[in-house]
């Protein structure tokens, strides 16, 4: 099992004729993702890697029945692409594009929700459910099917974490990059809830970074709602305050959003935080062991009670 994407995922690539769009359309197709169409205004009727291209999402959806789209169009057109996808009936929109103005995101994010769809991103690497589907730019070579869920605000840092897990034999159910911007469609809590509900997922790796209070809120949520073990890593301990560290969302301002504060909140919620991404597998193994022991104890107790 998995969250958000699986074997039934049928993808339209918005901006399929661009450099990134065409490259990753092929990568997704090669991985086994069911890429059913692409859209680029003015390029309707052509093909990219055998994938039919349409002028509009409306045209594409009239021919193919997709449930997911992934956006590679430049920032000035990315928000329009989100509206277009949702209005055409797409239920999961993954926006890879980096550099979308926050004002536009504040308007489109509630629109997506009001229409019963889910947006992942923007400024995100997308998601992958190993051996099932890959939507976005996460490299298919570093993942492995298994029972760990991965959530991250970052891109390449996520690859690092996934790769560390894979090397240590900890495969994944789904890896989700939620994006590094201030306003994003799907946050940690949305993913945590989905992983908690996913039977195949046994443990969760959550990778945060400086800026905002998403990790603090996630920590509180985990403590209250999650039965599955979570381990974490927070990037940006060495970042100076007041400076944007690449991601629009990665900025410590006025003493809030620091790595220290986040680690403290996570530890207080009983969530182990790794000192390096490469330490995540060991932490996860220990957490799984503890969870198993706890479950066994509980089962034993229940059994003895039953007697």
């Amino acid at each position: 099992m998995s969250i958000f994407i699986d074997k039934k995922t049928k993808v339209i690539v918005q901006g399929i004729t661009g450099r990134d769009g065409s490259f990753h359309a092929k990568q997704m197709k090669n991985y086994g993702t069911n890429v059913v169409a692409g859209v680029t205004p003015g390029k309707g009727g052509s093909k990219v890697a055998g994938i039919p291209v349409f002028n509009t999402m409306q045209d594409a959806m009239a021919k193919v029945k997709a449930n997911t789209s992934v956006i590679y169009v430049p920032p000035p057109f990315a928000v329009d692409a989100i509206y277009e996808a949702v209005s055409a009936g797409i239920k999961l929109v993954v926006c890879v594009t980096e550099g979308v103005p926050a004002n536009d995101m504040m308007k489109v994010a509630p629109f997506v929700k009001a229409n019963g769809a889910r947006l992942i991103g923007p400024n995100c690497p997308g998601l992958i459910s190993p051996d099932q589907s890959k939507v976005g730019i996460l490299p298919g070579t570093i993942v492995k099917k298994g029972n760990i869920g991965v959530i991250s605000r970052s891109g390449t840092l996520t690859y690092e974490a996934i790769w560390a897990l894979t090397l240590e034999g900890l495969g994944q159910t789904t890896c989700v990059g939620i994006g590094g911007d201030q306003v994003i469609g799907t946050n940690f809590i949305d993913c945590l809830a989905a992983f908690e509900a996913d039977k195949a997922t046994k443990g969760i790796v959550m990778i945060g970074e400086i800026g905002g209070s998403d990790e603090e809120e996630a920590a509180a949520y985990i403590k209250k709602n999650l039965t599955k073990p979570v381990v974490s890593f927070i990037a940006g301990q060495a970042a100076p305050p007041g400076k944007r560290m690449g991601h629009a969302g990665a900025i410590v301002s006025g003493g809030s959003g620091t790595a220290e504060g986040k680690i403290k909140a996570l530890n207080a919620a009983g969530i182990p935080v790794a000192g390096s991404p490469t330490e995540l597998p060991a932490l996860m193994k220990e957490a799984l062991k503890k969870a198993k022991a706890k479950a066994a104890k509980k089962a034993a107790k229940a059994k003895s009670k039953a007697k």
């Binding site: 990134d20 920032p75 980096e98 550099g99 103005p101 990037a235």
Partner: protein, 376 residues
């Protein structure tokens, strides 16, 4: 992106927010002329992008044009927290009866703009927020419908008793919100918003930060960028489309991806080194970006080794490797460089890199340790 007070107050004025008369001077004689023309006491205000200019002596009251000239002479070329003052704002001084704080930022938790006001203005608002949060009042704005008049009134009633001032205050908040939205701000702030004899409400300071992601459609504002207030290396990095932040350490870092770049810095610290910078070459990187990155880092005399950490995804290792080879050709670095390449087109990348015979490492932790070791 930050803009200067005089630029921010122009944005306010363009939206109808009342501000005192003011003009910009780059010399003390200009300061004299402006103050003389105003024929009133003025404030001489250093235009710098760093905070705390008041405490640093960058904001002074001048009784007349002569005094303004003297003060301008002192303030121009002053160094405030590392930033040199090149311009002063000469602004009509007003009698202040009360001071409030007004600010709008994007609230990440609710993903909405939030307007904050406090009658405890004129001071460090973060201190107010920290020590007496009950003195700060907030309204969250539904971004699709915008700020509603009732919300502005709700807040204005927290600042003023007089209904005339409530109306002025509410009107200023409406206009300030419009400014926030129109200029794609990530922050707008009036601190303080004052009342003067006669009952008028005025913004006597102005702060605006712009969402970098929106600069492509805010060309006029982008043109306001004050290159003189920035690190030359940061200017160069922006021109090369690199995310770069200068730090004080000795380990230069070139990484793809912001999260991984931060993590690399964190690990440099963890393993006993000090990072010289944050540098993210971004996603679909071309070889020229690597050359520019290397050039920027090599221009920092503190740097004693460079680590290149690439996890290929949208970035392809062969592109980066070509860039490294090209950089070695062009820049001939005299300090050690250690490279870790993994992910998309790793094999092709390593093949290309073989020609320069660099020390390499296969893991994140190892490349960091190696760079520290090489820095000596």
């Amino acid at each position: 992106m930050k803009v200067h007070e005089y630029q921010a107050r122009q944005m306010f004025a363009d939206h109808g927010v009342p501000v005192p008369n003011g003009e910009i001077a780059t010399t003390s004689s200009e300061a004299y002329e402006i103050a003389e023309r105003f024929n009133k006491p003025v404030m001489v205000k250093a235009q710098v992008l760093v905070g705390g200019r008041g405490k640093a002596g960058g904001v002074k009251y001048a009784e007349n044009a002569e005094a303004a000239q003297v003060l301008a002479t002192k303030i121009i070329d002053m160094d405030i927290k590392g930033e040199t003052v090149h311009k002063v704002l000469i602004s009509e001084a007003v009698d202040i009866l009360s001071e409030s704080y007004v600010g709008i930022i994007l609230d990440r938790a609710t993903q909405k703009p939030v307007i904050m006001v406090s009658s405890a203005g004129g001071v460090d608002i973060e201190e107010v927020a920290d020590k007496t949060p009950e003195k700060i009042f907030k309204e969250y704005v539904d971004p699709v419908v915008g700020l509603q008049a009732y919300q502005a009134r709700n807040l204005a009633y927290k600042l003023f008793k007089d209904i005339g001032q409530v109306r002025q205050g509410a009107d200023i908040l409406m206009k300030l919100y419009q400014t926030f939205w129109d200029v794609d701000a990530s922050l707008v702030e009036i601190n303080p918003l004052v009342t003067v004899p006669g009952g008028k409400v005025l913004a006597i300071d102005a702060k605006v930060n712009i969402d970098d992601n929106a600069l492509y459609r805010q060309k006029e504002i982008e043109a306001m960028r004050d290159l003189a207030a920035e690190e030359p290396a940061e200017i160069k990095a922006r021109e090369a489309d690199l995310s770069f932040v200068k730090l004080d350490g000795s380990i230069g870092c070139i990484v793809n991806g912001a999260g991984l770049a931060m993590t690399t810095m964190d690990l440099v610290k963890r393993y006993g080194g000090e990072p010289a910078n944050f540098l993210d070459i971004g996603g679909s990187s071309n070889p020229q970006k690597v050359v520019a990155a290397m050039d920027i880092i090599l221009s920092d005399p503190n740097v004693r080794s460079i680590l290149i950490n690439i996890f290929g995804g949208i970035t392809r290792c062969d592109d980066v490797a070509s860039g490294i080879v090209e950089a070695f050709k062009q820049l001939k670095p005299s300090i050690p460089v250690v490279v870790r390449l993994t992910g998309t087109n790793e094999k092709e990348g390593k093949k290309i890199l073989a020609s320069v015979k660099l020390p390499s490492a296969d893991t994140l932790d190892n490349v960091v340790k190696k760079a520290i070791e090489l820095a000596g």
